[in-house]
Structures are given as C-alpha cells and as structure tokens.
C-alpha cells in the first residue's frame, strides 16, 4: 500500500513541476510496456548526451524486468550517476542541470549528471597582468577553475571543501587549502564565516568577500583577489586559504596582509635586485599617492618657509595667475583625475584611450594655459595618479584614493601638523587591524626580521621558511 502511494507521488510531483512554468522537459519512454520518465531542463543539459547515453540504451534494452538498480548498473552510459528517494529534491537536481529518471512503481529515482554550462575558454588575465607570468586566468566556470588549480597542485593534501551558499542561487563555494600547511584555526574561521553567510544570492566572489571580512567599515581590503591560477596556487602553498566561488573569475585569498597586496607574484622569480627595487618603488608610490597633494597644500598654504628661497619664488610665481587657493585647487584637480579614471573604467575598450588623451592634453594643458591651475599642480596630480596605479592588487589603492582627499582636507586646516596626524590615523588603522587573526601590517609591525628579509628580497631561492605570521603547520619550504 505504501509502495503504491510513493509511486503516485513521483508522478504527481512531476505534474506539479510541469505546471510551475520553469521550463522542465519530460521525455516519456516505453519499454516492455512500462513507462520511464526522463526529466530535465533543456538549457542546462547536454541534450546530445541525454539522447545518446540515456534514451538510446534504454530503447535498446530488451530484457523484461526493468529495475532502478539494473538501469544504473547495466544500461545508462553516464559516468556521474546516483540514486535518491526524496521527492522534494527532484526540483533541485533538475535546476542544477541534472536529468532525473523516474520509473513509476519504484521507490527511488535516478539522477544522471548531464549538465552543460556555456562557458568561455581560459583567457589571459585582465586585472592582474604581469610580464613574466603564466597567462591562464580563472574563468566563470567553477569546474574549469578547480581543474586549473588541481593541474598545478598535484598534491594529495590539497583539500577542497565545498559549501553551498545563497538561499536562492545555491552557489557552490569551495575552500581550498593545503591540509598539512595551512593553520587550522584560520581554516576553521574561514569555514565558519562562510557557513554563517545568510543571503539570497551570491553572484560573484566579491559577495562572499563582503560577508567574511572582520570589519565591514574598514577602509583597507583584508581579502586578496587572485585572477591567475598561479597566484592562487602560490598562495595556497604559502599556507593561505583560497576561496573559489561558482560563477566568478576571481578567487579570494586570505589571510591577506598589507604587504601581500604590494607583492606581485613574479617578484619571487625575477632579478633579485629588481625585486627589491620595485618593492621599494611600490611603497614609495603608495606614499606619494597618499600625501603628495596634501604636501603641496601644506607647503603652499602654510609652511613655504621650509623650502629653499629659490623654490619659494618659483612656486609663488607659478601660482600667480591661479584664482583659487591651493586647497581648492588640489581638491579640484584630484577630483578631475578621479573622474577621468572612473570614466575610463566604464568606457568601452575602444574609446578608453581617447579619454586618456582628453584628460592629459585637454584638461592639463588647457587648465594651465587658462591660468586656472598652476603647472606644478598638474605635475603633482599626474604623479599621484600615476603612483596610484603601481600596486599589483588595485584594491588596496582604492582605499588610498579616498584617503588622499581626507589628507588634503586635514592638511588644509592644520598644515604639517594635520598631515602628520592624518597619517598617524591611517597607520593606527593599518597596524591595529587583523585579517582573519593575522596582524594586517606584518611583517613590519609586529616586526619579524626573517619574514621582513624574505618579504623584501622575495627571492624564491633564498626563502627557506614560510612566513611566520601565517603560523603554518609546515614551517619550512621543502
């Protein structure tokens, strides 16, 4: 009696689903007078596969007795196949691109993985470009991304923990780490935070990032992004944790310190002197981007006396025609340069360069010629804008772009004192925050000589130890 009821339910469920208008297709096959239903969604499945590997063998099946087990073990050609008996899960399977095979009067049904997702092929990276680095960037396809990582890390201790996040999107989120390297506390913390996410949809890894950071209001990013698979793998090997999100071409890397944002992967195998030099250059550029305009305001508006006399006259004469004061001038020009930058990101690729030309020539040249800004200001703004492109991970400089204005304002009121205090405020934020328990400003504060040396040199041949601040299980690099 119970059996009968169950059978009824599968069919009834099927009819229910058909009425829901979610585009479910049903294929009815009759073999030896018994009916078999194959349920799938055309857009999510490989229809050739269904015809050739499911329908064809079924139709060719000539034996009399047809059971679920028999079909699974001897008839269907599909590799990924399973059996379930919960009628309410049918809808989820179908929505995930699987085909469900129902035989009336059976207690359970078959799930065959026939999903096919339209995807683009592996292409070169767009945002984390580098000269001497592999060019296989992640794509939006989850499986491709996993395969790219698996391909590079052929180690059995690479753990891939899957989580389903998003009430409605049911996105797969994978936590990848080396079981015998990564510190378990951090792994646990990351998993805990991912499990805590309660939201209707995850479209991009950025969604996940938003939910798992320590403090939402923090201005500096605390989670790194990896666009290239080699960056992701190098970070996993370091003892970090990588999070892949279905449908996102950017992997997340954590815990990420401030220094890591300014560390490009190819530093580690480039010329050692060049690596040190570029690292210095990047720190210089981040400082310049932050305080250059503010210093201009401080010097022109407050402490012109700290300049040598000939510079004082030069600065003064260059500013004679400028109708506004230096504070307004700096704010205005920085604003214009930010506007140009924002515009050129949103523009289609073909017109992007045009904006660059408009920005440099028209605005710079014309503004100086019209006497609206001083030539020195144009130089300073271009320098600080240029400096704000120098980091390998652009997200960290987004914070600097905002803080730049804060610095200009506070300097505009308090001069040098304001400059120093504003800077202090930012440094306090940097040194006191943590990324998943790792001090954000390590290895500078807390200072660790070995880590610091390794960080500055960055040479893969000289680094024998993994960074201490990551507290990895396996301390050495062999």
């Amino acid at each position: 009696m119970k059996e009968f009821k169950n059978n009824k339910n599968f069919i009834r469920k099927l009819k229910e689903l058909k009425q829901k208008d979610i585009g479910i297709s049903t294929r009815r096959v009759v073999i030896n007078n018994s009916e078999i239903f194959i349920i799938y969604i055309q857009q999510l499945t490989d229809r050739d596969l269904i015809s050739s590997s499911i329908i064809k063998p079924l139709l060719h099946f000539k034996e009399d007795r047809l059971s679920i087990e028999k079909i699974v073990s001897s008839v269907i050609y599909i590799d990924d196949i399973s059996i379930d008996d919960n009628e309410n899960d049918i809808i989820d399977y179908v929505l995930n691109g699987k085909s469900v095979i129902i035989i009336p009067r059976e207690q359970s049904y078959i799930i065959a993985n026939t999903s096919k997702v339209e995807k683009r092929s592996v292409e070169a990276p767009d945002i984390q470009t580098s000269l001497k680095a592999p060019r296989d960037a992640f794509t939006e396809n989850f499986q491709t991304n996993l395969s790219l990582i698996r391909y590079r890390l052929k180690d059995e201790s690479l753990k891939i923990d899957n989580h389903i996040v998003g009430r409605r999107t049911k996105t797969s989120v994978s936590v990848l780490y080396m079981k015998d390297i990564a510190n378990e506390e951090y792994v646990k913390e990351v998993k805990k935070r991912i499990e805590k996410i309660d939201v209707d949809g995850i479209m991009e890894s950025g969604y996940v990032q938003k939910f798992i950071v320590d403090n939402v209001f923090n201005i500096f990013p605390h989670v790194g992004i990896a666009e290239r698979s080699d960056t992701a793998c190098a970070n996993i090997l370091k003892g970090k944790i990588c999070v892949l999100v279905e449908g996102s071409n950017l992997a997340l890397v954590m815990p990420q310190t401030f220094g890591d944002f300014l560390d490009s992967g190819d530093d580690h195998y480039d010329n050692i002197y060049l690596a040190v030099f570029t690292k210095f250059l990047r720190y210089l550029s981040i400082t310049l981007a932050l305080i250059l305009s503010a210093s201009y305001v401080a010097v022109v508006g407050f402490h012109s006396d700290i300049l040598p006399p000939q510079f004082i006259l030069a600065v003064a004469t260059s500013r004679v025609t400028v109708p506004v004061n230096a504070l307004v001038e700096a704010t205005l020009m920085e604003g214009v340069s930010e506007l140009l930058r924002e515009a050129s990101i949103r523009l289609p690729k073909q017109i992007g360069p045009a904006i660059g030309i408009v920005g440099t020539i028209v605005i710079g040249q014309a503004a100086v010629a019209a006497g609206l800004v001083s030539p020195l200001m144009v130089i300073i703004v271009s320098l600080s804008t240029m400096a704000s492109f120098a980091a390998p991970d652009y997200t960290v400089l987004n914070a600097v772009r905002i803080l730049k204005f804060f610095m200009i304002f506070i300097t505009g009121v308090f001069g040098l004192f304001g400059l120093v205090m504003g800077y202090t405020l930012i440094i306090i934020n940097l040194v006191s925050s943590t990324s998943f328990g790792v001090p954000y400003f390590s290895p500078m504060a807390p200072f660790n000589l070995n880590d610091f040396k390794n960080y500055i040199l960055g040479d893969i041949n000289l680094i024998k130890l993994r960074p201490k601040y990551l507290k990895s299980k396996d301390k050495t690099k062999h």
Binding site: F414, L416, V420, M421, I428, S432, M444, A445, P446, F447
Partner: protein, 361 residues
C-alpha cells in the same frame, strides 16, 4: 583578552614614551647644569635610569602576566595598592594632559601662529582616542613602526647637525674639570627618562619575554646615546653660551642649519617637526593608555572604551585650564617630579617587599 606583546615592542614602547616632548628642551636643561660636560650628566642619568628600568622589568617579569595592580595587591595589600595606583594615575594623567597642551602651544608658537590651541589639542585627542580603543597591541605595533621611523629620522638629523657644528664649541670635554660639578646629579638628568615605568602596566610572559631585560635596558642605553648625540650636536652648532637661552633648543639649532646638498629638503625643521609630533603622539598615547588601564582596575564595571572617552574629555578640559605658558611649564615640571615617585620609590618598595617575602618562604 590576550594582550601579551613582544620584547621588541616593549623596547619600542619605552622609546616612544621616553623620547618625546622633552627632547626639545633637553640640550638647554643639561647644558645649564653641566656646561660642555653635558655628556657626563647624560651618562650618569642613563646609568641610573637603566637600574630602575631593570627593577621595573624585574617586577613585571617575576609576576607573570600581571600588571602593577595585581602584583602590588599580593605584595602590600589592597589599601596601599590603591594609593600607589592613585599616584600612577594622577601622574600619568597630569603628564599626558599637559604634554598635549605644551606640544600644542609649541606647535602654535612655531608653525601655526593663528590656530587656537584647543583645535590642535582636539586633533591630538581624537587621534589618541582612536589609538586607545585599539588596545595595547595596536599601540605597541604603532610604537614599533613609528619607532623605527623616528629613530632613523632623528639620527639623520643629528648627524647632519653634528656635521655642521664646530668641535671648538663642545670643548672642554670635561667642563671646568671640577669633580663636584659631576657629582651634584641634578634632577634634570633624570626627568628625561620619565616614562620607563610604563613596563608596570604591560603584562609579561615568562616564556615569550625571556630576553626582555636585554631589550629594555639596551633601549634605555640607546636613548642615553641618542640624548648624548643630540646635546653635543646642539652645543656644537649653537655654542654653550647661547643654547641656554632657548627653551626649544633643538628647534633653534635646526633652524640655524641649511644643508645645501639636500636641495629640496635644505631645511630640516619640517622633517624634524613631523618626527617630533609623531614622538609626542606616542608619548601621550602610551601614558593615556596607562591612565585608562589603571583607572579601569579601580572602576571595573565601566567599559574600557567608555572610560577612555571620559578620561580624554576630562583631560581635554583640564588641558585648557592653565592660562599662560609658564603655568603649563610648571605643571609639566611638577608632573616630571611626581613621576620620579612611580619610577624610583614605588618600584623600590615593591622590590624590597617581594624579596623579603621570598626569603621568608
């Protein structure tokens, strides 16, 4: 809350709190007492400071994970501990309050002539509050990072000064040569070291901070060396007769030097003032933390952050009370002298009690 910090951080915190406002007038103070034999005065002061640093560190180290409040309670009982604590709190409070006021006054007199003092004070307090709510670790890391910047910057400036000075100005090296001159030990030599007692509120761990003695004493010795370089550099540039006229002897010295080969940075006063503001900020932040954490021991129920806010607001009001520069100067000197109590007397008493109790066991 796990608030243990590394040896290096402790050392830099000592640097941060000791080297601060005082360095401005240090050359004057020492030169007034010792003349060209200033380095001897600093040497004597440094040795005494090292001894008391050792005592304070010893107390902290042998009372693992405890601050002064906890181990003093074990050693001398609750009542006396409260008296001690009150001493520390009053002294920390007075010191950081009036250092902020004084620093704001100096800034106003030197670079921001028209800006009201209270505005400068408010900025100090805001940034300081932000640092305080980050807790001991945040402050320690800030000290570590800024310490390196300040030390390298200061050394650069002092060597430049020394290179511009004349050797004839620092002679005779031994002053007038009278022994009594070296023996009088004016208090001016010890006041620059006020601040080493901050070790009392840093909980030390025996396993992590084993080498802490080396770090703290060496840091104090290094500060002594730095002081020596400063004073000698200033005297060599300005001369012993003139330097005693400047309360801001160091700025006065720096302003007498133009370094032509540095081109854009020919004048060093901008650089120096930045570093000096940083070091003043470290001093007041650490002392402010001391005030809040010790007050928190008495008023355990009040949340740390709220208490910090209350104390800073009281301090802001208090800092505006003195009307003249001399009053502020007097209060700073006063708190400097009070400070000798927490450095010398209280740790000595506690050390003796601790030794006696150990022997009795």
């Amino acid at each position: 809350m796990n608030q243990s910090i590394t040896n290096r951080q402790i050392a830099f915190m000592i640097f941060g709190v000791v080297v601060g406002f005082g360095i401005l007038g240090l050359p004057k103070g020492i030169a007034e007492e010792y003349g060209t034999a200033a380095w001897i005065g600093i040497l004597v002061g440094t040795i005494i400071a090292i001894i008391f640093t050792y005592i304070v560190t010893y107390l902290g180290y042998h009372n693992e994970g405890k601050t002064l409040y906890e181990y003093s309670e074990e050693l001398v009982g609750k009542t006396i501990t409260y008296i001690f604590l009150a001493f520390y709190i009053v002294y920390f409070f007075l010191f950081f309050t009036f250092v902020i006021r004084m620093a704001s006054d100096v800034i106003r007199l030197t670079i921001l002539i028209n800006t009201p003092t209270i505005a400068l004070c408010i900025i100090f307090y805001i940034v300081m509050y932000y640092a305080l709510i980050k807790g001991l670790r945040g402050i320690a890391r800030l000290c570590e990072f800024y310490g390196v910047i300040i030390i390298s910057g200061y050394l650069f400036i002092y060597f430049i000064l020394a290179s511009q000075g004349r050797i004839i100005n620092i002679r005779p090296f031994f002053g007038t040569g009278e022994i009594s001159q070296y023996l009088k030990l004016p208090i001016a030599t010890l006041v620059p070291y006020v601040g080493i007692e901050i070790v009392t509120f840093i909980p030390l761990k025996k396993d992590k901070n084993r080498k802490v003695f080396k770090y703290t004493t060496l840091m104090v010795a290094f500060i002594g060396l730095l002081y020596m370089i400063v004073v000698e550099a200033c005297i060599s540039v300005i001369g012993i007769d003139d330097i005693v006229h400047y309360k801001d002897a160091l700025i006065a010295t720096i302003r007498r030097v133009d370094v032509h080969w540095l081109e854009f940075f020919e004048r060093l006063d901008g650089l120096f003032l930045s570093l000096w503001i940083m070091s003043v900020f470290l001093t007041v932040t650490i002392l402010g933390y001391g005030t809040v954490i010790f007050t928190n021991k008495i008023f355990k129920k009040i949340n740390y952050n709220v208490l910090a806010l209350i104390i800073l607001i009281i301090s802001l009001i208090a800092s505006q009370l003195p009307k003249t520069f001399d009053q502020v100067q007097f209060l700073i000197d006063l708190s400097g002298y009070i400070g000798l109590g927490p450095i010398i007397i209280i740790p000595s008493i506690l050390l003796v009690v601790m030794k006696v109790k150990k022997n009795n066991q």
